[in-house]
Protein backbone atom coordinates (compact mmCIF):
# COMPACT_ATOMS: atom_id res chain seq x y z
CA UNK A 1 0.00 0.00 0.00
CA UNK A 2 2.67 2.44 1.01
CA UNK A 3 5.04 2.29 -1.89
CA UNK A 4 2.94 3.94 -4.53
CA UNK A 5 2.11 7.56 -4.97
CA UNK A 6 -1.32 8.40 -3.61
CA UNK A 7 -1.61 11.50 -5.76
CA UNK A 8 -1.77 9.41 -8.89
CA UNK A 9 -3.97 6.68 -7.44
CA UNK A 10 -6.63 5.71 -9.91
CA UNK A 11 -9.29 5.92 -7.23
CA UNK A 12 -8.05 9.15 -5.78
CA UNK A 13 -8.10 8.02 -2.15
CA UNK A 14 -5.91 10.45 -0.36
CA UNK A 15 -6.48 9.41 3.25
CA UNK A 16 -3.71 7.35 4.80
CA UNK A 17 -5.15 4.03 5.91
CA UNK A 18 -4.22 1.84 8.80
CA UNK A 19 -1.60 -0.65 7.68
CA UNK A 20 -3.27 -4.00 7.62
CA UNK A 21 -2.01 -7.50 8.22
CA UNK A 22 -1.80 -9.41 4.91
CA UNK A 23 -3.41 -12.46 6.54
CA UNK A 24 -6.54 -10.50 7.45
CA UNK A 25 -6.81 -9.28 3.89
CA UNK A 26 -6.41 -12.81 2.57
CA UNK A 27 -9.11 -14.10 4.94
CA UNK A 28 -11.53 -11.38 3.88
CA UNK A 29 -10.83 -12.13 0.26
CA UNK A 30 -11.47 -15.85 0.82
CA UNK A 31 -14.73 -15.17 2.67
CA UNK A 32 -16.01 -12.86 -0.07
CA UNK A 33 -14.91 -15.27 -2.80
CA UNK A 34 -16.74 -18.13 -1.07
CA UNK A 35 -19.89 -16.03 -0.67
CA UNK A 36 -19.85 -14.87 -4.29
CA UNK A 37 -19.13 -18.41 -5.49
CA UNK A 38 -22.04 -19.81 -3.50
CA UNK A 39 -24.47 -17.14 -4.63
CA UNK A 40 -23.41 -17.25 -8.28
CA UNK A 41 -23.54 -21.06 -8.21
CA UNK A 42 -27.10 -20.96 -6.92
CA UNK A 43 -28.00 -18.42 -9.62
CA UNK A 44 -26.49 -20.55 -12.40
CA UNK A 45 -28.23 -23.69 -11.15
CA UNK A 46 -31.58 -21.95 -10.97
CA UNK A 47 -31.08 -20.49 -14.45
CA UNK A 48 -30.48 -23.99 -15.80
CA UNK A 49 -34.03 -24.80 -14.70
CA UNK A 50 -35.28 -22.67 -17.60
CA UNK A 51 -34.16 -25.61 -19.75
CA UNK A 52 -36.84 -27.74 -18.05
CA UNK A 53 -39.31 -25.91 -20.29
CA UNK A 54 -37.74 -27.78 -23.22
CA UNK A 55 -39.18 -31.07 -21.92
CA UNK A 56 -42.58 -31.25 -23.64
CA UNK A 57 -45.56 -32.42 -21.64
CA UNK A 58 -46.96 -35.68 -22.99
CA UNK A 59 -50.61 -35.37 -23.85
CA UNK A 60 -52.83 -38.46 -23.60
CA UNK A 61 -55.10 -38.27 -26.64
CA UNK A 62 -57.61 -41.06 -27.50
CA UNK A 63 -55.21 -42.45 -30.12
CA UNK A 64 -52.46 -42.75 -27.48
CA UNK A 65 -54.37 -44.64 -24.79
CA UNK A 66 -52.84 -47.96 -23.73
CA UNK A 67 -54.05 -51.33 -25.02
CA UNK A 68 -57.16 -52.44 -23.11
CA UNK A 69 -59.26 -55.55 -22.81
CA UNK A 70 -61.86 -55.67 -25.59
CA UNK A 71 -59.76 -53.79 -28.14
CA UNK A 72 -60.17 -54.99 -31.73
CA UNK A 73 -57.05 -55.57 -33.82
CA UNK A 74 -56.84 -53.63 -37.10
CA UNK A 75 -54.33 -53.48 -39.94
CA UNK A 76 -51.65 -50.82 -39.35
CA UNK A 77 -50.68 -50.44 -43.02
CA UNK A 78 -51.47 -51.52 -46.54
CA UNK A 79 -54.73 -51.21 -48.47
CA UNK A 80 -56.81 -52.45 -45.51
CA UNK A 81 -55.28 -49.94 -43.09
CA UNK A 82 -57.61 -49.31 -40.15
CA UNK A 83 -59.90 -52.26 -40.95
CA UNK A 84 -60.36 -55.13 -38.47
CA UNK A 85 -58.27 -58.21 -39.18
CA UNK A 86 -60.40 -61.21 -40.14
CA UNK A 87 -58.78 -64.33 -38.57
CA UNK A 88 -60.37 -66.50 -41.24
CA UNK A 89 -58.23 -64.78 -43.89
CA UNK A 90 -54.94 -65.63 -42.14
CA UNK A 91 -52.94 -68.56 -43.55
CA UNK A 92 -51.12 -70.70 -40.96
CA UNK A 93 -47.37 -69.95 -40.75
CA UNK A 94 -47.41 -67.82 -43.89
CA UNK A 95 -47.19 -64.26 -42.64
CA UNK A 96 -47.12 -61.93 -39.69
CA UNK A 97 -49.24 -58.79 -39.54
CA UNK A 98 -48.26 -55.61 -37.72
CA UNK A 99 -51.50 -54.44 -36.11
CA UNK A 100 -52.91 -51.68 -33.91
CA UNK A 101 -55.61 -51.99 -31.28
CA UNK A 102 -58.89 -50.13 -31.88
CA UNK A 103 -61.25 -48.93 -29.19
CA UNK A 104 -64.49 -50.82 -30.11
CA UNK A 105 -66.78 -48.07 -28.79
CA UNK A 106 -65.17 -44.91 -30.17
CA UNK A 107 -63.68 -46.70 -33.21
CA UNK A 108 -60.42 -44.80 -32.54
CA UNK A 109 -57.31 -46.65 -33.71
CA UNK A 110 -54.67 -46.30 -30.98
CA UNK A 111 -51.81 -46.11 -33.45
CA UNK A 112 -50.13 -42.90 -32.31
CA UNK A 113 -48.30 -44.68 -29.51
CA UNK A 114 -45.42 -46.93 -30.61
CA UNK A 115 -45.89 -49.17 -27.57
CA UNK A 116 -49.34 -50.18 -28.88
CA UNK A 117 -47.86 -51.98 -31.89
CA UNK A 118 -48.98 -55.62 -31.98
CA UNK A 119 -47.89 -58.67 -34.00
CA UNK A 120 -50.55 -61.09 -35.25
CA UNK A 121 -49.94 -64.47 -36.90
CA UNK A 122 -51.67 -67.77 -37.35
CA UNK A 123 -49.67 -70.91 -36.60
CA UNK A 124 -50.36 -74.64 -36.72
CA UNK A 125 -51.98 -75.20 -33.25
CA UNK A 126 -50.04 -78.46 -32.89
CA UNK A 127 -46.65 -76.68 -32.87
CA UNK A 128 -47.53 -74.34 -29.98
CA UNK A 129 -46.39 -75.23 -26.48
CA UNK A 130 -48.98 -75.48 -23.70
CA UNK A 131 -48.41 -71.99 -22.29
CA UNK A 132 -48.72 -70.33 -25.68
CA UNK A 133 -51.72 -72.36 -26.74
CA UNK A 134 -53.61 -71.32 -23.61
CA UNK A 135 -53.57 -67.66 -24.72
CA UNK A 136 -54.05 -68.35 -28.43
CA UNK A 137 -57.33 -68.93 -30.25
CA UNK A 138 -57.53 -71.35 -33.17
CA UNK A 139 -53.78 -70.95 -33.69
CA UNK A 140 -53.90 -67.14 -33.81
CA UNK A 141 -51.28 -65.63 -31.47
CA UNK A 142 -50.73 -61.94 -30.63
CA UNK A 143 -47.51 -60.47 -29.29
CA UNK A 144 -46.39 -57.00 -28.34
CA UNK A 145 -44.44 -55.56 -31.26
CA UNK A 146 -41.84 -53.63 -29.27
CA UNK A 147 -38.43 -55.33 -29.18
CA UNK A 148 -37.06 -56.01 -25.71
CA UNK A 149 -33.56 -55.01 -26.83
CA UNK A 150 -33.79 -51.33 -27.87
CA UNK A 151 -37.43 -50.71 -28.67
CA UNK A 152 -37.63 -51.16 -32.46
CA UNK A 153 -40.75 -52.75 -33.94
CA UNK A 154 -40.17 -56.51 -34.50
CA UNK A 155 -41.58 -56.28 -37.99
CA UNK A 156 -39.98 -59.15 -39.94
CA UNK A 157 -41.19 -62.76 -40.21
CA UNK A 158 -38.76 -65.60 -40.87
CA UNK A 159 -41.17 -67.93 -42.64
CA UNK A 160 -39.01 -71.07 -42.90
CA UNK A 161 -38.13 -71.13 -39.17
CA UNK A 162 -41.42 -69.57 -38.01
CA UNK A 163 -39.60 -66.87 -36.00
CA UNK A 164 -40.09 -63.15 -35.39
CA UNK A 165 -37.05 -61.02 -36.34
CA UNK A 166 -36.22 -57.50 -35.26
CA UNK A 167 -34.37 -55.80 -38.17
CA UNK A 168 -32.46 -53.39 -35.91
CA UNK A 169 -30.02 -55.83 -34.30
CA UNK A 170 -31.28 -59.21 -35.42
CA UNK A 171 -33.14 -60.20 -32.25
CA UNK A 172 -35.14 -63.40 -32.79
CA UNK A 173 -38.27 -64.44 -30.89
CA UNK A 174 -40.11 -67.74 -31.07
CA UNK A 175 -43.89 -67.27 -31.25
CA UNK A 176 -44.44 -70.99 -30.55
CA UNK A 177 -42.83 -70.78 -27.10
CA UNK A 178 -44.37 -67.68 -25.45
CA UNK A 179 -42.19 -65.31 -27.50
CA UNK A 180 -38.95 -66.73 -26.12
CA UNK A 181 -35.91 -64.59 -27.01
CA UNK A 182 -33.34 -66.64 -28.96
CA UNK A 183 -30.51 -64.14 -29.55
CA UNK A 184 -29.68 -60.50 -28.76
CA UNK A 185 -32.81 -59.64 -26.77
CA UNK A 186 -32.70 -60.08 -22.98
CA UNK A 187 -36.34 -61.02 -22.37
CA UNK A 188 -39.20 -62.73 -24.22
CA UNK A 189 -41.88 -60.66 -25.96
CA UNK A 190 -45.16 -60.32 -24.07
CA UNK A 191 -48.01 -62.45 -25.39
CA UNK A 192 -51.60 -61.15 -25.28
CA UNK A 193 -54.53 -63.47 -24.48
CA UNK A 194 -57.11 -63.15 -27.26
CA UNK A 195 -60.50 -64.40 -28.32
CA UNK A 196 -62.20 -64.46 -31.72
CA UNK A 197 -65.59 -62.75 -31.99
CA UNK A 198 -67.59 -62.04 -35.18
CA UNK A 199 -64.53 -62.60 -37.38
CA UNK A 200 -62.52 -60.20 -35.30
CA UNK A 201 -59.48 -60.63 -33.04
CA UNK A 202 -60.21 -59.18 -29.60
CA UNK A 203 -57.77 -58.58 -26.74
CA UNK A 204 -58.87 -60.69 -23.78
CA UNK A 205 -56.50 -59.58 -21.00
CA UNK A 206 -53.11 -58.40 -19.85
CA UNK A 207 -49.88 -59.38 -21.66
CA UNK A 208 -47.58 -61.99 -20.13
CA UNK A 209 -44.79 -59.45 -19.79
CA UNK A 210 -44.69 -55.65 -19.46
CA UNK A 211 -44.46 -53.91 -22.85
CA UNK A 212 -41.23 -52.27 -24.01
CA UNK A 213 -37.49 -52.46 -23.39
CA UNK A 214 -36.36 -54.44 -20.33
CA UNK A 215 -32.92 -54.56 -18.78
CA UNK A 216 -30.98 -57.81 -19.08
CA UNK A 217 -30.54 -60.08 -16.06
CA UNK A 218 -28.65 -63.34 -15.83
CA UNK A 219 -31.62 -65.57 -16.65
CA UNK A 220 -29.76 -67.79 -19.08
CA UNK A 221 -30.43 -65.73 -22.22
CA UNK A 222 -27.82 -66.11 -24.92
CA UNK A 223 -26.59 -62.80 -26.23
CA UNK A 224 -24.50 -62.02 -29.31
Amino acid sequence: MADHDHDTHAHGHEAALEPEAPEAHATRRAVLQAAIGMGAGAAVLSTLYVGAGLIPKKEITPDREPIAQGDVLVYSQGPKRGQPINPAELKPGAEMIVAYPMNPESQVVKGAELKNTLLVMKLDPGTLDAETAKLAAEGVVVYSGVCKHLGCVVSNWVADKQLMLCPCHGALYDPKESGKALIVAPKPLGQFPIKLENNRIVIAGEPTRPIGVEAATDDGIRRV
Binding site: A35, G39, A42, Y49
Partner: protein, 163 residues
Protein backbone atom coordinates in the same frame (compact mmCIF):
# COMPACT_ATOMS: atom_id res chain seq x y z
CA UNK B 1 -15.58 13.71 -22.88
CA UNK B 2 -12.08 14.89 -21.94
CA UNK B 3 -11.76 12.20 -19.26
CA UNK B 4 -13.89 9.33 -17.92
CA UNK B 5 -16.26 11.85 -16.36
CA UNK B 6 -19.59 11.39 -14.55
CA UNK B 7 -21.41 14.28 -16.23
CA UNK B 8 -22.38 12.55 -19.48
CA UNK B 9 -23.48 9.24 -17.85
CA UNK B 10 -25.47 11.10 -15.20
CA UNK B 11 -27.17 13.14 -17.89
CA UNK B 12 -27.84 9.92 -19.84
CA UNK B 13 -29.67 8.45 -16.83
CA UNK B 14 -31.78 11.60 -16.44
CA UNK B 15 -32.54 11.48 -20.15
CA UNK B 16 -33.44 7.77 -19.90
CA UNK B 17 -35.92 8.52 -17.10
CA UNK B 18 -37.39 11.30 -19.23
CA UNK B 19 -37.83 8.89 -22.17
CA UNK B 20 -39.54 6.29 -19.96
CA UNK B 21 -41.83 9.01 -18.65
CA UNK B 22 -42.61 10.06 -22.21
CA UNK B 23 -43.49 6.45 -23.06
CA UNK B 24 -45.79 6.41 -20.03
CA UNK B 25 -47.42 9.66 -21.15
CA UNK B 26 -48.01 8.15 -24.60
CA UNK B 27 -49.96 5.35 -22.87
CA UNK B 28 -52.06 7.92 -21.04
CA UNK B 29 -52.75 9.71 -24.31
CA UNK B 30 -53.73 6.48 -26.06
CA UNK B 31 -55.97 5.53 -23.15
CA UNK B 32 -57.61 8.96 -23.22
CA UNK B 33 -58.25 8.70 -26.96
CA UNK B 34 -59.55 5.16 -27.06
CA UNK B 35 -61.13 4.90 -23.63
CA UNK B 36 -59.24 1.79 -22.62
CA UNK B 37 -55.68 0.69 -21.96
CA UNK B 38 -54.49 -1.39 -24.92
CA UNK B 39 -52.87 -4.77 -24.39
CA UNK B 40 -49.86 -4.01 -26.54
CA UNK B 41 -47.29 -1.25 -26.56
CA UNK B 42 -47.36 1.19 -29.46
CA UNK B 43 -44.33 1.39 -31.74
CA UNK B 44 -43.66 4.86 -30.38
CA UNK B 45 -43.51 3.54 -26.83
CA UNK B 46 -41.20 0.69 -27.84
CA UNK B 47 -38.84 3.15 -29.54
CA UNK B 48 -38.77 5.56 -26.61
CA UNK B 49 -38.23 2.72 -24.15
CA UNK B 50 -35.50 1.09 -26.27
CA UNK B 51 -33.53 4.34 -26.34
CA UNK B 52 -34.33 4.84 -22.66
CA UNK B 53 -32.98 1.38 -21.85
CA UNK B 54 -29.74 1.95 -23.79
CA UNK B 55 -29.16 5.34 -22.19
CA UNK B 56 -29.92 3.93 -18.75
CA UNK B 57 -27.46 1.05 -19.16
CA UNK B 58 -24.90 3.43 -20.60
CA UNK B 59 -25.29 5.88 -17.72
CA UNK B 60 -25.20 3.10 -15.12
CA UNK B 61 -22.02 1.45 -16.45
CA UNK B 62 -20.47 4.89 -17.01
CA UNK B 63 -20.91 5.86 -13.39
CA UNK B 64 -19.76 2.40 -12.30
CA UNK B 65 -16.68 2.72 -14.51
CA UNK B 66 -15.89 6.08 -12.94
CA UNK B 67 -16.18 4.51 -9.47
CA UNK B 68 -14.18 1.37 -10.32
CA UNK B 69 -11.59 2.66 -12.77
CA UNK B 70 -11.38 6.35 -11.93
CA UNK B 71 -11.68 9.43 -14.09
CA UNK B 72 -8.10 9.29 -15.32
CA UNK B 73 -5.68 6.39 -15.53
CA UNK B 74 -2.13 6.58 -14.26
CA UNK B 75 0.40 3.88 -15.26
CA UNK B 76 1.41 1.43 -12.56
CA UNK B 77 -0.09 -1.05 -10.16
CA UNK B 78 -2.54 0.24 -7.57
CA UNK B 79 -3.49 -1.98 -4.64
CA UNK B 80 -7.01 -1.60 -3.28
CA UNK B 81 -7.49 -0.31 0.25
CA UNK B 82 -8.69 -2.84 2.78
CA UNK B 83 -11.95 -2.70 4.66
CA UNK B 84 -14.36 -5.22 6.12
CA UNK B 85 -17.51 -3.34 5.10
CA UNK B 86 -17.46 -4.73 1.52
CA UNK B 87 -17.15 -8.28 2.88
CA UNK B 88 -20.29 -7.80 4.97
CA UNK B 89 -22.11 -6.24 2.03
CA UNK B 90 -20.90 -9.03 -0.24
CA UNK B 91 -22.08 -11.79 2.10
CA UNK B 92 -25.51 -10.14 2.50
CA UNK B 93 -25.82 -9.73 -1.28
CA UNK B 94 -24.78 -13.36 -1.83
CA UNK B 95 -27.48 -14.55 0.58
CA UNK B 96 -30.02 -12.36 -1.23
CA UNK B 97 -28.81 -13.86 -4.51
CA UNK B 98 -29.29 -17.42 -3.25
CA UNK B 99 -32.77 -16.49 -1.99
CA UNK B 100 -33.70 -14.85 -5.31
CA UNK B 101 -32.44 -17.94 -7.17
CA UNK B 102 -34.67 -20.18 -5.06
CA UNK B 103 -37.66 -17.91 -5.58
CA UNK B 104 -36.97 -17.83 -9.30
CA UNK B 105 -37.10 -21.62 -9.55
CA UNK B 106 -40.25 -21.60 -7.41
CA UNK B 107 -41.99 -19.20 -9.83
CA UNK B 108 -40.92 -21.33 -12.80
CA UNK B 109 -42.32 -24.47 -11.18
CA UNK B 110 -45.57 -22.63 -10.48
CA UNK B 111 -45.67 -21.25 -14.01
CA UNK B 112 -45.23 -24.76 -15.44
CA UNK B 113 -48.17 -26.04 -13.40
CA UNK B 114 -51.24 -25.22 -15.45
CA UNK B 115 -53.59 -25.96 -12.54
CA UNK B 116 -51.85 -23.49 -10.21
CA UNK B 117 -54.29 -21.13 -8.52
CA UNK B 118 -52.06 -18.07 -8.89
CA UNK B 119 -49.75 -18.50 -11.90
CA UNK B 120 -46.82 -16.12 -11.39
CA UNK B 121 -47.03 -13.11 -13.73
CA UNK B 122 -44.26 -12.58 -16.26
CA UNK B 123 -43.14 -9.37 -14.55
CA UNK B 124 -42.34 -11.43 -11.46
CA UNK B 125 -40.40 -14.05 -13.45
CA UNK B 126 -38.47 -11.37 -15.34
CA UNK B 127 -38.03 -9.20 -12.25
CA UNK B 128 -36.54 -12.01 -10.15
CA UNK B 129 -34.12 -12.96 -12.92
CA UNK B 130 -33.20 -9.31 -13.38
CA UNK B 131 -32.57 -9.01 -9.63
CA UNK B 132 -30.29 -12.07 -9.72
CA UNK B 133 -28.23 -10.69 -12.61
CA UNK B 134 -28.00 -7.24 -11.00
CA UNK B 135 -26.81 -8.71 -7.69
CA UNK B 136 -24.09 -10.74 -9.44
CA UNK B 137 -23.00 -7.58 -11.27
CA UNK B 138 -22.83 -5.68 -7.98
CA UNK B 139 -20.90 -8.53 -6.29
CA UNK B 140 -18.31 -8.51 -9.06
CA UNK B 141 -18.09 -4.73 -8.87
CA UNK B 142 -17.51 -4.87 -5.10
CA UNK B 143 -14.88 -7.55 -5.49
CA UNK B 144 -13.11 -5.57 -8.20
CA UNK B 145 -13.20 -2.36 -6.19
CA UNK B 146 -11.89 -3.75 -2.92
CA UNK B 147 -9.95 -6.91 -3.73
CA UNK B 148 -8.47 -6.61 -7.20
CA UNK B 149 -5.26 -4.75 -7.90
CA UNK B 150 -5.71 -2.08 -10.57
CA UNK B 151 -3.05 -2.27 -13.22
CA UNK B 152 -2.64 0.45 -15.82
CA UNK B 153 -0.43 -0.13 -18.85
CA UNK B 154 1.13 2.38 -21.19
CA UNK B 155 1.42 0.18 -24.24
CA UNK B 156 3.41 0.96 -27.32
CA UNK B 157 1.22 2.07 -30.17
CA UNK B 158 2.61 -0.63 -32.45
CA UNK B 159 1.58 -3.77 -30.61
CA UNK B 160 2.38 -7.34 -31.60
CA UNK B 161 -1.27 -8.21 -31.74
CA UNK B 162 -3.02 -9.06 -34.00
CA UNK B 163 -0.39 -8.31 -36.65
Amino acid sequence: MYRNDTVVPAFAIIFAIALFYMAYLVTQRVAALSGHTPAELTVGQIGLMAFGAVLFMYGFIGLLSNWLEGAELRPGKHEPEASSVPVVAGVILSLALAAASGLFVRTLVLAANKEAEFPPPTWLQGGLFAAMMLIIALLIAIYKKFFMAEEVLAEDEKGEFPW
